[in-house]
Symmetry: C2
Subunit: 411 residues, 2 copies
């Protein structure tokens, strides 16, 4: 596997583009994106678990039901959430506009929105600009970049990746883009992830692969504990690479899955690193748990704790907060661990320091710990020594800028 | 019922005091408190649900088992949590020192600690100063104030109350103090609450009353989503008021219960108002839910949301975040509400403005909303219009100062 350029356009047969249609107020930023496959695709998607679902989520859940897609239209600046029946009509209209322009079936269009909640989405702006959007479609990295810019909100960095693998001697590509910075929490954040591949793969195998990869990546990401109304991760596979169709638990499936997981974890880390106001990527790694689910629960609780996050910001080796967060996380989820077996270390490229042994304090150099925690990428390593369950959760620190960004997001 | 002065010493037969023994580093603040009843007490207590429990919690759970207490010793500056078997020995030693000095049984002493986790508690400092602490016991408000000062950590305000009620023509008093500012979340926060009363009441009735009052107050308080290892609420009733012993669901029980609930809710609001870095008290009031538990779940989710809290700080009428938080809270807890029936208003002494009707946006004056949200006490009023369950949860805004305080708490 090697990383390549091109983003979602790295996969053969995909076009992408992005323009400004005017939904985002008071800026000249792009706000409307389109990704399109020239040929039919297998498709799979995962959506927010929030009971309050945006209109586009309701519609796209419906459109993915037959495991086929040809295009994704996405806007930023307005979430089309809490907008009632009018919102559903708007989402349908977006799909229809794409279908009419690209001469495809509206049920083969996924619709995604991100932005402010509770404000009607001015679909007339999309209607006026849909032809321009189509004219802007390109099969190269410029098309990818334009689409990516158009889905960003408070994101400060582009988050994308493309990889190439070999299956049956054929070059197979996976390209992806994501947005997401605030309101990010398992399961699914205010994040949109659009993944393209030219692999030939059965819809059922694609669905299994996406769900498994999302479980190990996007669902182990936390920025602020808020799960959005609008999240979705969509993958489209058009088979243009010409490999023998991947059917399930064969060797080729494993090659494909590993690449997909790599892509999703890479995007997860990029989102955590670009968490609203974040100065640090914090990976919480739990090993030795009763099972993988327990490891995930405990890692999530530590990575989500405002106090742990604030301590990371302050480069303070406050391991008691880590253990405390594991304790209430275990209570809330009804899982167990043996407190007396817990070891905790902090690690970064500046080194590693153990700060807790068998659930209690040990002597360590505060100076060394400070140097380790001043780095931009920190690992909190928790050894439970119970059994062999393990999981990593990615988060970030809690900073002044998080408060600043979210104290006045709407205006 | 009327509010009176005196705090925990307002109840007849109680003494209190507080001194500095040196546990709190680099300050001249008091750090050791004692509350003592001259006569035997019925007692009840509620403790943290965190699976990682401080040594003092483990010990005090044991000491309360017979529903009797005579004294509470509490220190600040060190939580005696994650301190292993040595920590248990330390907590026992604290109880024994009180018992030896006051000539009572060590099992009649509750022990409480608050402060940094994972550092051995220097019990020798308590041993050296236990006699001075006993000498400082007083039966008036000065004793109460000294004890209260000695349990405060990042608290910026004293949080206490005392009330007088009449039962059987006798004056009955309830006095209380609490500390708690950060790491506060249902169920039980890093909060200590010590309540005294001279009511005569059976232990079983006292226990029922405390649990019910805590459910309606302390367990509906959230500051930052972190549930501490050390929380406890303890009530001692010595019967010195001379009323006929309250036995259970009689009229006198109701009078007593209402006063106890009033005291607990008052302290809850004071803690939320003094949340770390908080500039505002935010009460989230849900009515019309399927039942009280559903109302509580939804109110907690909204009050706990970092995004809702940051919007309160910024005086931004961002009701979409409120509805969004209700949506993921409902998913996580497995409860339901009808999104299309939801009305949301913001209210304060500057007025009331409805911002959401039937789950969607309505026109409102942003200017008026801003004025309402600039007040120091804000109500977020959520009408579900399903059935008649209701609950109020108290929280605060998320501010720069929260990050500042917690980015460098240990040092």
């Amino acid at each position: 596997m090697k990383e390549i350029t091109g983003g979602v356009c790295a996969a053969k047969g995909f076009l992408a583009g992005g323009i400004r249609c005017g939904i985002k107020p008071s800026s000249q930023k792009k706000d409307l994106a389109l990704i399109y496959s020239k040929t039919n695709c297998s498709a799979a998607a995962v959506f927010t678990t929030n009971k309050v679902k945006a209109a586009c989520v309701v519609l796209s859940e419906n459109h993915i039901a037959d495991a086929k897609l040809r295009a994704i239209i996405a806007n930023s600046g307005n979430a089309n959430a809490c907008t009632g029946q009018a919102g559903i009509k708007t989402a349908k209209r977006m799909a229809q506009l794409v279908a009419d322009n690209l001469l495809i079936d509206p049920s083969d269009v996924a619709v995604a929105s991100t932005g402010v909640i509770g404000v009607p989405l001015p679909v007339d702006l999309i209607e006026k600009n849909i032809d321009a959007l189509k004219q802007n479609l390109r099969s190269d990295e410029l098309g990818h970049n334009a689409a990516l810019e158009a889905i960003m909100t408070t994101d400060t960095k582009k988050k994308d990746i493309a990889v190439q693998i070999e299956i049956d001697g054929k070059a197979v590509h996976i390209g992806a883009m994501t947005k997401g910075s605030g309101m990010i929490h398992p399961n699914m954040a205010t994040m949109l992830a659009f993944i393209t591949t030219d692999a030939a793969i059965l819809p059922s195998a694609l669905n299994t692969a996406l769900r498994q990869a999302v479980k190990k990546s996007f669902n182990r990401l936390t920025v602020d504990g808020d799960t959005s109304t609008n999240d979705m991760a969509v993958v489209m596979a058009n088979g243009e690479a010409g490999n023998t169709t991947i059917t399930g638990e064969c060797e080729n499936y494993k090659i494909f899955y590993n690449a997909l997981e790599y892509v999703c974890i890479d995007l997860t880390k990029k989102m955590a690193r670009d968490g609203e106001g974040a100065t640090k990527l914090v990976a919480v790694k739990v090993t030795g748990a009763e099972n993988e689910d327990t490891a995930e629960v405990l890692a999530k609780s530590a990575a989500s704790s405002s106090l742990v996050k604030a301590a990371c910001f302050g480069a303070d080796a406050n391991w008691g907060r880590v253990l405390c967060a594991m304790g209430y996380g275990a209570h809330n989820a009804g899982v167990n661990f043996n407190q007396d077996n817990v070891n905790i270390s902090f690690s970064s490229k500046a080194g590693t320091v153990q700060v807790c042994k068998n659930g209690g304090s040990i002597e360590f150099s505060e100076e060394k710990a400070k140097l380790i925690l001043l780095e931009e990428e920190i690992d909190i390593i928790i050894e439970l020594n119970d059994k062999d369950g393990e999981a990593t959760v990615w988060g970030c620190d809690l900073t002044y800028d998080y408060v600043k960004i979210n104290g006045d997001y709407r205006s």
